[in-house]
């Protein structure tokens, strides 16, 4: 896949950094110049402290071309994201962007299924943003741990023809998983394309379910891996290509892969 736009090293300014769910933050960043973003691409962001040498890769959730603001959501998982959760309006951070191949929807693909789990929901929201005024029809299947984690998705569910919110404990929407709901709804949805992002067990369940049901609808997944440079040079964030003795770079060849192209 061809990368859209050119990678750039930029100093960005924090507009807001708010907790939207337990341990999950929405970070708005003002860019100094206009960037050509594609849904599913990501940026590699410094955490604002010299002792943490690695940047953190975050999928772009939305991009406002007019105000040149980019929004990412992240979960506090370790020291780096904890530091990031403390940055404030006006703080300067460094980042390189836009990175990765992103999601693509071909002209003839009209009905698109979006299957997301946990923080994997956020990159899929960028698909809804990019295509919401197009002739595409979306059905969304989004899984969360409980009601407390659902918040952001509510803002976007009107952009899908049907949006199914699933929670592990049934405290919001239906009890169950996004993948099981997708298969339950499959006959109704009849998608031309499936796009997914979420925890590895979820992607494995999706891959197994598609194989079991002999569903041949094109399916693309966005993967996550610990990264070094973030731009494809260091070979840190690799995944195995299915049926070959080769690795793919998650940051450069991905993060979006055909589900049958890589080992999950």
């Amino acid at each position: 896949m061809q990368v859209c736009g050119f990678m750039k090293e930029l100093a960005v300014k924090v507009c807001t950094n708010e907790q939207i769910a337990p341990g999950i933050y929405e970070l708005d960043l003002a860019l100094p110049e206009e960037i050509d973003f594609r849904c599913g691409q990501f940026l590699n962001l410094s955490v604002g402290d010299g002792a943490h040498l690695l940047r953190r890769p975050f999928a772009v959730m939305s991009y406002d071309r007019v105000s040149r603001t980019v929004c990412v959501c992240y979960q506090v998982k370790g020291e780096g994201t904890r530091l990031l959760s403390r940055v404030k309006e006006g703080d300067a951070l460094a980042c390189v962007l836009p990175l990765g191949n992103g999601f693509r929807i071909a002209e003839e693909q009209k009905r698109v299924a979006l299957i997301g789990g946990g923080v994997g929901v956020f990159p899929l929201l960028s698909v809804l943003q990019e295509y919401h005024e197009s002739d595409k029809h979306f059905r969304s299947y989004m899984g969360f741990r409980s009601a407390k984690f659902v918040s952001t998705f509510g803002k976007y569910d009107h952009r899908s023809d049907a949006a199914f919110i699933m929670t592990d404990d049934g405290s919001f929407g239906e009890k169950g998983t996004a993948v099981s709901k997708f298969f339950e709804d499959f006959e109704e949805a009849r998608p031309d394309l499936i796009l997914s992002c979420g925890p590895t067990p979820m992607l494995r369940a999706l891959k197994a379910g598609l194989a079991e049901r002999k569903i041949e609808t094109p399916c693309f997944v966005s993967l996550e891996e610990r990264m070094g440079c973030g731009i494809g040079a260091c070979l840190v964030c690799v995944c195995k290509k299915s049926g070959s003795e080769e690795n793919a770079r998650v940051c450069k060849d991905g993060p979006v892969f055909d589900i049958n192209e890589v080992e999950i």
């Binding site: 690695l54 731009i231 040079a233 003795e245």
Partner: protein
């Protein structure tokens, strides 16, 4: 505008700032962000005769002021490099240092013979800590450092040989001298330090390979000391590296005796780290009335 170019065993580097092996691939990705022709040179991702898949993921971790990596020499093999990447690097008019690794002495001999005359310099990696039964094994004892150097040198008729030393050894001066005696034209150091991270929840090592290579700003004082020791031990030129993030860091290595420096981990923290270091060197030299960076090489005063 100070004079920045340096000559290391007949190879001209337009400035003393060279991309360190493993952090910069073969240069194409960074060239999408800035024109890498501004660099002094590039040391390629470690090359082997055959393609290598490398280690399982995760391959990287972070600790205060440092990172650890366990990539394990993933590379497409020397022939793919020659076919797909060499012309691109040549078009950039920067010094091309091919970093080479192997499992056996025959591997080192074979890959050096393959690259002889095709690149500007060979950097012999006898010190990679992330590959079992190879690399590091040759880098530990002075006798095997000398032997690996001798074998590599015997395969090189046209291209100078630089030997990259491991810091995980008993004596840097002894290994530096061993490489010089084996016929090395230059030395580079330090490779990464051996380190380990433990996942306390899983009660397991973070890396599948258990240990990994530590690099980044936090190791710089160790690297400066080792480069200084190596420069005092040998007469051949030395390239210094280890935790360089800015021009001032690079100058410490040059004062310690390094003819040039390599920059690795800093490329992860800031993709523009190297152009900034080059610019910073120029400004520092101008501000201090130093006309030529070579005047500072080994200019450390101990009294």
């Amino acid at each position: 505008m100070a004079k920045l170019n340096v000559n290391i065993c007949g190879v001209n580097f337009k400035n003393p700032v060279i991309a360190a092996s493993g952090t910069f691939g073969f240069g194409k990705e960074f060239d999408e962000i800035y024109d890498i022709s501004c660099l002094g040179g590039i040391s390629t991702k470690g090359l082997t005769l055959e393609p290598r898949l490398g280690n399982p993921t995760p391959r990287i971790a972070e600790a205060h002021g440092v990172i650890l990596n366990s990539v394990g020499l993933q590379n497409p093999g020397v022939d793919v490099f020659l076919r797909d990447d060499l012309d691109f690097l040549k078009s950039k008019h920067i010094a091309i240092v091919a970093n080479v690794a192997g499992r056996t002495l025959e591997d080192y001999e074979g890959i050096c013979a393959r690259l002889d005359g095709l690149v500007d310099m060979i950097e012999l990696n006898i010190s990679c800590p992330n590959v079992r039964c190879g690399g590091m094994a040759f880098g530990i004892r002075p006798e095997s450092v000398k032997e690996a150097t001798r074998v590599a040198k015997s395969a090189l008729k046209h291209t100078p040989l630089m030997v990259k030393l491991s810091p995980n050894v008993e004596s840097i001066p002894a290994n530096a001298r061993a490489a010089e005696e084996g016929g090395a034209d230059a030395l580079s150091l330090i490779n990464t330090l051996n380190g380990m991270v433990i996942d306390i929840e899983r009660r397991r090592p973070f890396f599948a390979n258990v240990t990994a290579g530590v690099s980044g700003a936090g190791i710089r004082p160790i690297a400066v000391r080792m480069v200084w020791e190596a420069c005092n031990a040998v007469g051949i030129p030395v390239m210094g590296m280890g935790g360089i993030t800015c021009a001032e860091d690079a100058l410490q290595f040059i004062l310690a005796g390094a003819a040039a420096v390599q920059v690795g981990t800093a490329n992860f923290s800031d993709t523009l780290a190297m152009p900034k270091i080059i610019e910073g060197l120029n400004s520092w030299l101008d501000a201090h009335g130093v006309a030529d960076v070579n005047e500072l090489r080994g200019a450390l005063q101990l009294d």
